[in-house]
Each structure stands twice: as C-alpha cells, then as structure tokens.
Amino acid sequence: MDSFLRIAAGLVMIAVGMGLARIFRGSQDADRMMAVQLLGTGGIAVLMLLAGSKTGAAAIDVAVTLALLAAFATVAFVKSSQTRGGKEPEE
C-alpha cells in the first residue's frame, strides 16, 4: 500500500509536468497564472498521497498551506498584471 501511494504520487507529478510544459509554452499572463494553480492542486494531491504512506499525516499541514497560498499567489499575479496593463476597473 505504501509503495502504491508513492508511485501514484510520482504519476501525479508527471501529469503536473505535462501541464507545466503546456503552460510555459503559452505567451499570455493568464497562462502563467494557471501554472501556480496547477501546482496548488497537483502539490496537494501529491502531499495527500504521501500523507497516506510512511511520510505521515504531517504532510497534510503542508497541503493546507499550499492550498491557501496557491490562491494568494494567483491574487498577487492578477493584481500585478492589472497594474501592468493599465487601470481598467475589474468587471
């Protein structure tokens, strides 16, 4: 069971890699912000799987932290791309 969960975590990491490859080929700012969101979800999936294996339940605290800060990083990116592109009001 432990090695199954770790291999599953590895497979999730490969899927995250595929997503990142596509994102960093994109040229738009919006593409780039999706990378942070993808890492948020992918990172949480990997950490949950590791929490189930020998790494132990403390990995879930890292998962909750990542969940919180993936949103924060996206907000920071949106604010900076807003000011980068001029002061249009937010719809």
């Binding site: 199954f4 590895g10 942070v36 990542l66 800060l69 924060f72 990083a73 907000v75 990116f77 604010k79």
Partner: protein, 314 residues
C-alpha cells in the same frame, strides 16, 4: 525503490523551472517560474524527510516572496528593453557558463564523496531533548540548544525592516507603505480576501501551537499570517498603517523583546543566559514562540510591502 518516480520527476521539474527562472527574458514569466519553483521545493523538502522546512519553504516561497518580486517587476516593467543594452556579450555568456558548470560539477562530485557513515548530531539532540519538554526536535534545536542564534535571527528581521524603512524620502517619513488603496468593489478578488484570511489566521496559530510537538512553529505560522495580511491589503479591504504607529512598532519588537527577557531571566532563575528554568521550559518556549509569531508575521508583511510611499492621511 517506489520513490524513484516521484523524486526523479520532482527533480526534473525543479531543474527545468530553475533554468526558466534564470534564462528567460520576460521578467514576469521568470517570477512565475520562481514561485512555482518555490512550491516544488516545498514538495522536495517533504521528500527529503523534513516537514518543518517544507512548511517554511511552501509558505514563504509561494507566499510573500512572489508578491515582493511582482511588486518590483511592475515598477521596473518599462525598463526591460533599456537593461538589454547591458546584457554581456556571447563570449561572456559562454565563459560564465563554463565557470558555473565547473562549480556545479565540483559540488556534485563533493556530494558523491560525502563520508560514510554520515556524521550526525541527531543522537545528541534526541538525548537532551526531554529536558526541554518539547517533542519536536527542530523546535528543540531552534528554541533551546541554539536559542542565541534564533534570537539574533529575529533581530535580523527587525533590522532588515528598519533598513527598508530607512530608504523613505524625508517628506514621506511616517507615511503609509504600499500603493493607494482602491475602493474594494466586490468581485472574486474581494470574495477571496474576505473568506481566506480567517482560515489562514487559524492555520497560522495552529501551526505555531503544534510547533512544540509536531512539525510547525513560529516561522511557519508567522509567514502564513504575513501572507493573509497582505491578501487583505492587495484586495483593498484594509489599508497599510502609517509606519509611525506605536502598536505597529510594538508588534514588530514583541518577538525579540520577549526572547531577550526570557533569555536574561535565565541568568536569574536558571543556570545562565538563555537557559530555561527546569520544569518551566515548555511554557517559556511557547510564550517566546507566541510573541515571535506575531512579530514575524508583521515584519515579513511590511518587508514585502516596502517603505512608505504616500503620506499618512491619504
């Protein structure tokens, strides 16, 4: 054996994002790569068996470091073309590439020739950990065995903030950092900034509290509190306080001051400076950590926002 897929994939992603961070010309893309690189490092630290460091790296790397770099990137965005003039020529690129490759190869060789059996202080730490009544060995090292270094480290944070504030133009001294607060009209941004901070503050306090016995601690809790405060500032729900506010400076200094008082009281009640009275080690440690969590959160957020840039009444 089952780790090969995860660790290998993690390392490949980390290296490719590091290459992107360093090589790409567009600053915005480089910072995105760096934030994602910070999150991946958090996972790498879990793979290396340290949840404490993973929490710190994840909370800081993807949190306020991204906000700090983005704030700077926005201010410097029209200067990218001008800076290109100063880019060193092709020959200089090749030479520095060779030099860095040589350094990396030397370090890699050193890693492969590390002594076996590996020297370790873990037995020594575990042997004298019970005296500190703290079950998390990293917190034991930070707060008990190396209390002096950790105290000076929290002072370094305050010094960095003083230095950042020192660059304020005289006219704006005592003003508010950060740009003018726009009226927060409701959209997904304000909705996020209204719902996440309570959860974040609870998580920050939780991480500080369990830091004594499980992975966590004041640095991890403080970084999350800083990120949550900054989220409300970004969304315009709150405004940055003028730097001359008394409570702000008290909050900044609370951590190091408590640490110093506890250390000095060691001379009176215990065997020496930064020695904790036997039997009272845990309450004292938790008191220091509580004050430090608050002051680390406040200091890191103010460091990310920057020096005062507008008068106090705006």
């Amino acid at each position: 054996m089952s780790d090969v897929v995860l660790h290998g994939g993690l390392i490949l992603l980390i290296l490719s994002l590091a290459v992107m961070t360093v090589v790409t010309r567009d600053t915005f893309a480089a910072i995105t790569a760096f934030v994602v690189y910070g999150m991946l490092l958090g996972l790498a630290w879990v793979a290396l068996g340290s949840i404490d460091v993973a929490l710190t790296e994840a909370a800081l790397g993807s949190g306020i470091t991204g906000a700090l770099l983005l704030r700077a990137a926005v201010c410097l965005r029209d200067k990218e073309a001008a800076a290109e003039v100063r880019r060193p020529g092709r020959a200089a690129h090749r030479v520095s590439g060779l030099v860095c490759a040589a350094i990396a190869a030397g370090l890699a060789a050193m890693v492969l020739m590390l002594p076996d059996p590996a020297p370790s202080l873990a037995p020594a730490v575990m042997e004298s950990l019970p005296a500190t009544q703290v079950k998390n060995p990293v917190t034991g090292v930070l707060l008990a065995f190396r209390a002096w270094d950790t105290f000076l480290e929290t002072v370094v944070l305050v010094l960095a903030l003083v230095a950042v504030w020192g660059m304020t133009p005289d006219a704006l001294w005592g003003g508010r950092p950060g740009e003018l607060r726009q009226h927060a009209h409701d959209g997904p941004l304000v909705f996020l900034a209204r719902v996440l901070p309570p959860v974040g503050v609870m998580l920050g306090i939780y991480l500080f509290w369990i830091g004594a016995d499980e992975p966590g601690g004041k640095f991890q809790g403080g970084t999350i509190l800083a990120a949550m405060w900054m989220l409300t500032l970004l969304a315009g729900l709150t405004d940055a306080p003028p730097v001359s506010r008394r409570w702000l400076r008290a909050a900044m200094v609370a951590g190091p001051a408590t640490f110093l008082l506890a250390g000095l009281s060691g001379v009176v009640f215990a065997s020496g400076l930064f020695a904790y009275p036997p039997g009272f080690a845990k309450p004292v440690i938790l008191l220091i950590e509580a004050a430090s969590t608050v002051s680390i959160g406040v200091t890191l957020c103010l460091l990310a926002i920057g020096p005062p840039s507008r008068p106090a009444n705006r």
